[in-house]
Symmetry: none
Subunit: 161 residues, 2 copies
């Protein structure tokens, strides 16, 4: 069956490129040797839980994570971890890198965890800067993030450079 291959291709493409419509995604899939119709793609996207989210200009973009899921249900933390690529400590600041387009939603989640250790976050497209409160040590901050994002330590390739 070619479905599973197609699903993983979809995930890969969405992690690498900015896709604004199913038609566009369809073309990308074709370039990689996966073929189907828009109808099937629509079904696949639903199965993958892919959302259509806004970028800063109000344009839509397809994204593998659905922010609100994480938000509405604090129990579903695991999903957010899947978009995290790595975490790097930089002199006490923590830099989290995500797959493209997911920094904001992840940062939002971190902000809303209500952890005292964290003064705030700044998110770009695929990078989040987590700023600790004064006096919070890197190790504490890292532990804090692990508490917020269970399973995190298993995901990050290099946790300290």
């Amino acid at each position: 069956m070619q479905k599973s291959k197609r699903l993983s291709e979809i995930e890969k493409i969405l992690g690498e490129e900015v896709i604004t419509s199913q038609e566009a995604l369809l073309r990308k899939l074709q370039e990689r040797g996966s073929f189907c119709t828009q109808a099937t793609l629509s079904r696949n996207l639903r199965q993958l839980g892919v959302s259509r989210v806004r970028d800063g200009n109000g344009n839509y973009r397809y994204s593998i994570i659905n922010d609100r899921k994480v938000l509405a249900d604090p129990g579903l933390k695991m999903n957010i971890v899947t978009v995290i690529r790595d975490i790097i400590d930089s002199n006490g600041l923590m830099v989290i890198r995500t797959i493209p387009g997911n920094a904001n939603s992840t940062a939002y989640y971190i902000d809303n965890a209500g952890r005292h250790e964290i003064a705030g976050t700044i998110a770009g497209d695929d990078t989040i800067l987590v700023i600790p409160r004064s006096g919070v040590k890197p190790g504490e901050l890292h532990e804090c993030l692990e508490a917020i994002l269970p399973g995190l330590h298993r995901q990050t390739g290099r946790e300290n450079g």
Copy 2:
């Protein structure tokens, strides 16, 4: 004008109820005394940055959460230096200022240079924050950036603030 009232009603409704279509949102607005057509609502949702995201069952739901930043255009890597205005060191972090609208593309370029010295970057509209890995000294980071962006030192007005 009733637009601003409608916008805040929209935010309120989305924060309180599960809305799965613009038509449904339209009805909720009417219940609260805000009237418009679906076309206008579509425009309003874009202005608010509202996204259409999946819930756990794959169904759509409108949500105020979104990703705010646009991914850089990987195409314009060449003349990247010409858009840089200056570079300022701030306690080991490097702040690069570009001409408006070019921070993203520049940051993208820097990220993709694959330099170990750099933990990550965060870009706004005309400002980039370059975050070094722990132990990397400001001078090293600056050299690193010069290596990535040849000609940089001639462009930057004040290289250390």
